[in-house]
């Protein structure tokens, strides 16, 4: 256990990390991520892209649900808005990706204010139901506003490039998404150590007390909605870049559940936890596929037919088991392990 590191200034207290070891590990991770495309094949690389996109979206959700305590079970709606904005601006209006992707985030954030307004009056379950209703309304509007959104036909994305990176190749897309994920992670970490992040935490823990301490609830709740949905919209835009063809079926209710499962698995309110959760949950179907292929033929009709159900069941089990046995998620597990080794051989 580290001892004797006294914090003497406010700046030291809110620094991202005061440990050189931690920074060294982060540097190692960064190097590994940059080198990854040289070491693995395209399939693994596209999995990595999925993980990174999940990280971006889940960080957005965690800022809202984990940090501010506003429950949203309608994330698929914001993902759909982001994906469609990015795809339509790029294909129908010829916007370059450096403009269409931020636009996806901004539009998603702006629309989230509409959902945020009821949240000023509602708490907990009622808010959750509003967000759910909202996501269905979004899907309906996209499906029926055919002149604008191509309706049931979906949208095909053209090949795009960004600063010379070919985003239609796995490697180009990987570096692009990696860059965005790093930016979003840094933005979220820095938000959390600012006045805004502390205000959000205060609202989550006790909103009346927060208000008594001079936090403008209207402003900070709406800000939480806007920032969170901005990130989720960006994630949606990245999804459209990855899958290249989007239609409304992609954004079903299971996607919202997946987002919730990620932050439950990772740990509420923790960015590091969100990253862990996104990595594990995105790779979970893959792990199931590998395990099952040991026992049954992966081409067997029974398996391919029920792939969606198996995934759903896996998410459900993750949610139930973690909430029951480890409510602070993987990051809590990691803290326990670290504490155990730091205190070894004494238990506490």
């Amino acid at each position: 256990m580290r001892t004797g590191h006294y914090k003497e200034t406010y700046g030291e207290l809110i620094a991202l990390s005061d440990s050189g070891v931690a920074w060294a590990w982060v540097a190692a991770l960064a190097a590994a991520l940059v080198l990854l495309p040289l070491l693995v094949g395209n399939y693994t690389l596209s999995l990595a892209v999925s993980v990174l996109i999940a990280i971006v979206g889940a960080i957005g959700l965690n800022l809202l649900t984990g940090t501010t305590g506003l429950i949203s079970i309608g994330q698929s709606g914001f993902l759909a808005i982001g994906a469609y904005t990015n795809a339509l601006l790029a294909t129908d209006y010829g916007w370059p990706v450096w403009a269409s992707l931020p636009a996806a985030g901004v539009l998603s954030g702006a629309i989230s204010l509409l959902v945020g307004i009821p949240s000023l009056r509602l708490k907990g379950l009622y808010l959750a139901i509003t967000t759910l209703a909202f996501s269905f309304i979004v899907n309906y509007v996209i499906l029926y506003a055919e002149p604008l959104t191509h309706g049931p036909n979906g949208v095909f994305l053209n090949d795009t490039t960004f600063l010379g990176l070919d985003l239609s190749s796995d490697r180009g897309l990987y570096y692009f998404v990696l860059g965005v994920a790093v930016l979003v992670t840094l933005a979220a970490l820095n938000l959390l150590r600012s006045r805004i992040g502390r205000a959000w935490l205060a609202i989550r823990d006790h909103d009346i007390a927060a208000r008594a301490m001079g936090i403008d609830l209207v402003r900070y709740k709406l800000l939480a909605f806007a920032v969170s949905s901005f990130f989720v919209g960006i994630a949606g835009g990245l999804m459209s870049l990855q899958i290249r063809f989007i239609n409304i079926d992609v954004f079903g209710f299971l996607l919202s559940i997946e987002a919730l499962a990620i932050i439950i698995l990772g740990g509420f309110g923790s960015i590091a936890g969100t990253i862990l959760g996104a990595v594990f949950l995105t790779l979970l179907p893959e792990a199931i596929r590998i395990v099952l292929s040991l026992f049954v033929d992966p081409q067997a009709p029974a398996y391919t037919k029920y792939i969606y159900e198996i995934r759903g069941i896996a998410y459900g089990i993750v949610i139930v088991v973690f909430l029951r046995f480890k409510p602070d998620g993987l990051i809590g597990l990691w803290r326990d392990v670290r504490k155990y080794f730091a205190n070894w051989p004494l238990a506490y």
């Binding site: 509602l122 379950l125 139901i129 159900e309 198996i310 139930v320």
Partner: protein, 290 residues
């Protein structure tokens, strides 16, 4: 006029199933304070079980309901025991999340058992149209309305007159005080789940025999949210009325405003209700405004 009456009648019929599912939501919310997101999946599972019973025993509609209800109640009790009881004392949010997890598990398991193809639900009823005044009804639709009426009446009598019903209301009003008065709260929770599963089974059987039994029938649960929000989350009888109203609104919106509006009219109602009158028409006003 005929078109209007047709929309009203079919709206009321669909609304009856919303009302039944909504009553399930309200029973669990009233007794335990959680919204059970797995209500639609309870409906799905019990409807599929009823389907297997109906095809193997060739029961007609009413006996089928009577046979399915006890099975559904056992399922409700088991789910409460295995998934919800261990979460006692955890934050509300976690328990609600567990019901969401439970929902996807049940959905997946049901589809894996009975397969993804829709089935024609055998009801043994004639498809002859019955005219009530100028409005044509199918027999099964009349059964649906009658079931809602019967269940509503039974629920009213149950909560008004029986010892158990009064105990449930006591638990809803104040769990701690109810416990001090000698009411076994955990047993009340269990019974609430059993009752919710029973009404879910009725709604499932009716819905499947009016339309089809398919793997998307769980969505009926989410579609019933507007009913219970309109009635007030803690008002069991309000949910029944809310169901009828939402069924009407959906059908009229579809018929007069635009294609596909049936799918979301209810959700628009949710957003409007929650902004204007969050406790619904009959719910207790305990929304805390911060």
């Amino acid at each position: 006029m005929e078109y209007f009456l047709f929309l009203v009648s079919s709206g009321l019929v669909v609304g009856a199933t919303y009302g039944l599912v909504g009553m399930g939501f309200a029973i669990i919310y009233k007794a335990t304070g959680i919204v059970n997101f797995a209500q639609g999946e309870l409906l799905m599972l019990t409807a599929y079980i009823a389907f297997s019973l109906a095809s193997s025993l060739s029961l007609s509609l009413v006996p089928l309901m009577i046979v399915t209800i006890p099975i559904a109640m056992v399922i409700g009790i088991v789910l409460e025991r295995v998934f919800i009881r261990p979460m006692l004392g955890e934050p509300l949010f976690s328990i609600v999340m567990v019901t969401i997890g439970l929902a996807v598990i049940l959905r997946g398991v049901t589809i894996m058992i009975w397969g993804p193809d829709p089935h024609e639900f055998p009801t043994g009823l004639s498809t002859q149209v019955v005219l009530i005044g100028p409005v044509p009804f199918y027999q099964v639709q009349l059964y649906g309305l009658a079931t809602l009426a019967a269940v509503t009446l039974a629920a009213w009598a149950f909560f008004r007159f029986t010892r158990l019903g009064i105990a449930m209301r006591a638990v809803a009003a104040n769990e701690g005080a109810a416990m001090l008065m000698g009411i076994e709260v955990s047993r009340i929770h269990m019974i609430a789940w059993a009752l919710a599963a029973a009404v879910a089974a009725l709604a499932g059987i009716l819905f499947a025999s009016m339309f089809k039994l398919g793997p998307t029938i769980w969505f009926e649960g989410l579609r019933s949210f507007p009913a219970v929000i309109l009635g007030g989350l803690d008002s069991v009888l309000g949910a029944a009325l809310g169901g009828l109203v939402v069924g009407l609104i959906e059908n009229l919106a579809q018929g007069y405003i635009g294609q596909g509006l049936r799918e979301i009219a209810g959700f628009v109602v949710i957003v409007v209700i929650l902004m204007l009158r969050p406790y619904g028409l009959f719910g207790a006003r305990e929304i805390e405004r911060v």
